[in-house]
């Protein structure tokens, strides 16, 4: 800040008219109090930088962020990471139990390997019984070519991070009714389960900003109407409405359309909370001195909103939006679990859980419940991350 400072302290105390004195020296804010480099760095930091510093102190939130990044790596590279494709069927291994990973065979180090499986048909219970074949060592191959797939549905490839031994199997989390590998299913399912929340939240942010902005900025009748709508929407139980809406999606749609339909449904019922936050934040920010100053200096509404108000609550909006991602992930899971959302060949964690709907199946083949674990981890991580973001976005802490 350079400018001119009118220095009145030198004005004599007499009644005589004083000539307006202007100090010719450029204004130096450091003249009163010398700032240490650290203080200077802090005072000159942008809002986002301060948020980042505050966020870094929240260890749990940072670790949750790291965990989430690891999970999200599955989204672009699912085909490479998974040893099989999500719908590869192995008709010789229906409901095969998980194969534990070993490192030592008979006291000798061989690296990660699994024992082969022997299967026999139990004629009394009419099911396959699998047992480990302790003589059949099947070392896991790394950076290998295995199950062919189309990368992103475009490129033919067969490169995998790890794959089963030649002629062997690698079902680290077991297989399902049709002999599809659960682990691969989980990795592919992350693609839908993890992005459904992001897209849904994006829709909800747009709607929330729009309606909350109208209510908060214009006030009056618009505010009243939107307030009532928000109140009504918030008093409705979400899940039955989600169920009804997704039951309305045509069965003939392909999975991509259903996916976008689902995200729209999830976002459509989520925006009221966000709109309410935006509205109240906008109302309080409008009264702040700096916003008033901008109005008095003749700034147009557009400039006031975009330059002065928006930066004030964008961090807040992002934080509260991140807290509604987990509920959307759970929503998609619940809908797919109930057969109202996505269906095979699309794979999400909810679709995988669909197999575990029957309790008698679950008691015999408990590994079908495996998708529960990533769901809980991701939801927990998002909760911690959201808490951290919210604390960091709060300027009064």
């Amino acid at each position: 800040m350079t400018g001119e400072r009118s220095d009145l302290t030198h004005a004599p105390a007499g009644k005589r008219e004083v000539e307006h004195y202007v100090d010719p020296q450029p204004f130096d804010p450091g003249s009163v109090e010398e700032l240490t480099p650290e203080q200077e760095r802090f005072y000159q930091a942008s809002q986002w930088q301060i948020m980042w510093w505050k966020f870094k102190r929240h260890k749990l939130a940072v670790w949750s962020g790291v965990v989430l990044i690891l999970f999200y790596l599955c989204v672009p590279f699912a085909e490479v990471i998974a040893p099989y494709t999500a719908n590869t069927r192995d008709s010789n291994h229906l409901y095969a139990p998980p194969q534990p990973l070993h490192l030592f065979h008979e006291g000798r180090f061989v690296g990660p390997f699994v024992y082969g499986m022997k299967s026999e048909l139990d004629m009394t219970n009419l099911k396959w019984v699998f047992s480990e074949d302790r003589t059949d060592v099947q070392p896991v191959r790394f950076f290998c070519s295995g199950d062919p797939y189309k990368f992103w549905g475009l490129l033919d490839a067969d490169f995998h991070l790890f794959c089963p031994a030649e002629g062997g199997t690698l079902f680290l989390l077991g297989t399902d009714r049709l002999g599809r590998d659960m682990l691969s299913g989980l990795i592919y399912g992350a693609r839908i389960s993890l992005t459904v929340g992001l897209v849904g939240v994006a829709i909800s942010i747009v709607l929330g900003l729009f309606f909350g902005g109208i209510a908060g900025y214009f006030g009056g009748i618009a505010d009243n109407v939107i307030q009532r709508i928000i109140e009504i929407m918030r008093s409705l139980p979400e899940l039955p409405l989600w169920m009804a809406l997704s039951a309305a999606l045509p069965v003939t749609w392909n999975p991509v359309w259903i996916y976008f339909g689902l995200t729209i449904i999830l976002g459509l019922l989520d925006w009221p909370g966000l709109a309410r936050a935006v509205r109240s934040k906008l109302l309080s920010l409008r009264e702040e001195e700096y916003a008033q100053a901008a109005v008095l200096m003749g700034a147009k509404p557009k400039r006031v909103i975009t330059r002065h108000l928006l930066p004030g609550f964008s961090s807040h909006v992002i934080a509260s939006a991140s807290l509604s991602i987990p509920s959307m992930i759970l929503g998609e899971t619940a809908l797919s679990f109930l057969n109202l959302g996505l269906r095979r060949p699309a794979v999400s964690w909810g679709v995988l859980l669909n197999e575990a709907q029957n309790i008698s199946v679950v008691t015999v083949y408990p590994w079908l419940m495996a998708p529960v674990i990533p769901i809980i981890i991701v939801v927990l991580a998002f909760n911690f991350l959201g808490d951290g973001l919210r604390d960091a976005a709060d300027p009064y802490k």
Binding site: S235, P240, L241, F337, N383
Partner: protein, 341 residues
Amino acid sequence: MLSYIIRRILLMIPTMLAISFLIFFIIELPAGDYITNQIAALRASGETASIAKLEFLRAEFALDRPFFERYLIWLGCWPGPNGFDGLIQGNWGWSFEFDRPVSEVVGPTLPLTIVLNFATILFVYIVSFPIGMYSATRQYSWGDYGFTFLGYIGLATPNFLLGLILLYLFNRWFGLSVGGLMAPEYIDQPWSVDKALSVLAHLIVPTIVIGTAGTAAMIRRLRANLLDELHKQYVTTGRAKGLTEGRLLYKYPLRMALNPFIADIGNLIPSLVSGSVIVSVVLNLPTVGPVLLSSLQSQDQFLAGFILLFVAVLTLIGMLVSDLLLAVLDPRIRLGGRATR
């Protein structure tokens, strides 16, 4: 107080109308209706004999009228084929799938739905209150950390998955059939003490499953509210005057922290009701949940519409009760305006 109650109840009427319209709109979203789909299926299979009957049914249930007229007939504000005969007159509609009136299909499931939701709210109150108090007064103790951790797990586990896990564990360890409302041997038996006990035992797991997430949220809220109050000056003053810790806590901060605690129950009810629907499906409980699912899948519109409306009204009544409780507790609300959340 009376005027507050009346105002609060009158305010529910426009809300209810808006909700009924929204629900009717949603259940009319799928293309066609139950009967047109049936007719199309019959046409496709070349059978034409029963089409005339279905056409008659279509007129009988006013499915051939325009959208708004259908909505008003459903409500009972517009003369349908049989005069004014809608929800307001007590006719809940016809279930095409079961070929019976909706009241007969869902009637038996309604009491249990209400009991289950009520029990869950009670559970949330009873469990979260002492734990929240304990966590706030013994902040950073092992117990506090333990409950906080449990609370986070409870918050993160979707209730239907929790139901699934509990089903599995109970089946594994106790050989207990958790699903259903009663042990299989009591089904179709006359009511007895043992049967009632069996029903009660089977209600415990669903209550816990539905209530866990809510309880976790309430514990966090109560703990935070109470902590805010505990650090205020009047607490120090009270302590300096020589009040015992228990009396001090009960006399001042607890009463202050109770307000948002009760107000939050109102915010929690929608998610509790949501939870009860899906948990009932997973645990195979005879509430409206499984009926709703099947009616949505078969596009049995009046049945689905009635259940959605019932669930929404249940939520509204729950919120009404929580608002009234709040008004009893806080004179500022019953004398001033509405609850500030």
